[in-house]
Symmetry: C2
Subunit: 342 residues, 2 copies
DNA sequence: GTGAAAGCGCTAACAT
DNA sequence: ATGTTAGCGCTTTCAC
């Protein structure tokens, strides 16, 4: 026996509009009109229909409605890395807020940084007839999307540019951000500056590396070269990498970490060091202020919001060439990046 | 003129199964069988159909399929607070991973801590015929859900218990966690212990407050009483509250903050203090190790995973009384909670 | 191994 | 102001 209010009685088939109409003593279409608050329904009829609906516990079948209205849902898909990474969750949060304003809902999926899975997810979303698809792509090429865009499903690339297909994108000024970090450290008199970066084949990392190098070149500095470390993919390896750097005979006097995970690892390695090197990290993070960590900051939530906005404009019928929105960066000096050369 | 590979040509209506069948020269049903890899299709026929589908850029219409199959989607809804809060995003990440194993997809929505909006979102999800609904509820009562559960949509409450309706739930051992934090501080010799808590009307906070008080009572300690601060709802107010506490004539020698946001605020207030009080925070967080912050930890991702598991069992037909899974906590000593009494 | 007909629950078009 | 008919794109009978 179920307790009163139990949510676990036997599943009862949901009532349909036909049943509501029958109970209210009106035709199907009248019931539809009444529940959708369309004009041309007598107030009394409307009330009778709504009472019948309440009595039966009727709830509109969105699937049937969507099929009839043209097989297009109110869903927008987001394919990204793990939401447990604060960068992705900040992006998702920005997207969700923007979409909600337009009555759209966000469906999220994690690509596990696997391009095969990513493609599979794209297909699944398209089958579900999402109105738009936002992707923080893991795949290196996206040719297979070209045919889709022409079928009216707008794509927006987030954080990483499209490759092999023209599509809207929202990107961070990676190169500029990296240059300003590098200049910041050069300005402090540093010459032996280490760069710890993630997978160099991903565009954002490549741009950060290139930006950093451009600054060094402009300053006529080549002393940084022995301290370049790329393809460091998680915090643990970043920690080990930084420890190794500091154990060198001529250790770097400053370190630039190219994303939030790497900064975390570096902070662990620098912990308890009496005379830590200067440190600037790409991506701001919670408690960076308390830790006194200087960063290249940007607004990930705004990035999500802009991506959702671009998608919404396409959904609303905007046509025209692909657009790219660039999110600016700024150096926030909190101490770690201003440590003197030792 | 669109560039080749442009995603923004005119929207072309998607081909239907009927068109694929016509092109392949078979009947609608045979095409359906072939694409769904059902038995009883000649290999050659199957190939012809799939070629036709590729040629047309056919993609199954999931909406039509779902309608025909009984108007139930492969979506599972999650209604929670802002994903920008790492607690919620960790929960979402755990849910998403678990659901994916079963071919289900996660749809997220933010309730903005507003019970009216929450109810609206519940209705929207039900209209979309989600298979299950996971909620970190903001509303205080959930009676209105009772009628829904009986219609076969399983509800799982996450982090906060259902009130007014029987439903599955995944909860943290808030009381036990708070007691162990309190005991930890008492064990360090502290007597004037401040408790900084969020909205006391939310169950998790109330339980943490009650657990803390129970420990104090058991230890015969009443000295903490002047230092109780509740309804501190964000990091900024937590920072101010802690500053105020420390400015008292007899400041507390230890502080217990009842969630991650409040701990963040407290850390800001304690920053640069020469002799900070002891601090233990509820909820673990990134970089707590670097900051040396002692916490009551629990596994938010596991919480999401358990919630998804409960939901999936209901979806798969499990009936029976509502179950509650309790996620255990543990104190992680990192220094801040072990500071001596001064 | 293949096909014809019916219908999921709703809304659009066209009566009345 | 209300009702009738048709049909969205698919899967499910049931027949061949």
């Amino acid at each position: 026996m179920s307790a009163p209010g139990s949510t676990h009685g036997a599943a009862v088939r949901r009532p349909t509009l036909t049943q509501v109409a029958a109970l209210a003593g009106v035709s199907l279409k009248t019931a539809s009109r009444a529940l959708n608050r369309e004009p041309n329904v007598a107030p009394d009829t409307g009330r009778r229909v709504r009472d019948a609906a309440d009595l039966l516990g009727y709830r509109l079948n969105g699937i049937a409605r969507e099929l009839r209205r043209g097989a297009t849902s109110t869903l927008v898909g987001l394919i990204s890395g793990d939401l447990a990474n604060p960068f992705y969750s900040a992006v998702a949060s920005g997207i969700e807020r923007e979409l909600r304003q337009h009555g759209l809902q966000l469906v999220t999926a994690n690509n596990d940084e696997d391009s095969g899975l990513e493609r599979h997810l794209v297909e699944a979303f398209l089958e579900r007839r999402v109105r738009a698809l936002l992707v923080v792509p893991s795949a290196d090429r996206h040719d297979y999307l070209a045919v889709e865009g022409n079928r009216g499903v707008p794509f927006v690339f987030v954080d990483r540019p499209p490759n092999g297909v023209a599509a809207d994108a929202v990107l961070i000024d990676n190169s500029g951000g990296a240059r300003s970090a590098a200049d910041h450290l050069l300005g402090g008199g540093h010459r032996r500056i280490a760069l710890v970066a993630d997978l160099a084949r991903k565009a954002p990392q490549r741009e950060r590396i290139d930006g950093f190098m451009a600054s060094m070149r402009a300053a006529g500095n080549t002393e940084w070269e022995p301290y370049l470390r790329t393809d460091v993919h998680d915090a643990r390896r970043a920690e080990a990498t930084v420890r190794d750097l500091l154990a060198l005979p001529d250790p770097p006097t400053a370190i630039f970490t190219a994303n939030n995970r790497l900064t975390t690892g570096a902070l662990r390695a620098l912990r308890d060091r009496p005379e830590p090197p200067a440190l600037v990290g790409f991506d701001d993070f919670d408690l960076a202020d308390v830790l006194g960590t200087s960063v290249v900051a940007h607004d990930a939530t705004a990035m999500g919001r802009e991506a959702a906005r671009l998608a919404y404009e396409r959904i609303s019928g905007h046509t025209g060439p692909a657009r790219t929105v660039v999110i600016s960066t700024s150096v926030i000096a909190r101490g770690s990046g201003e440590r003197p050369v030792r």
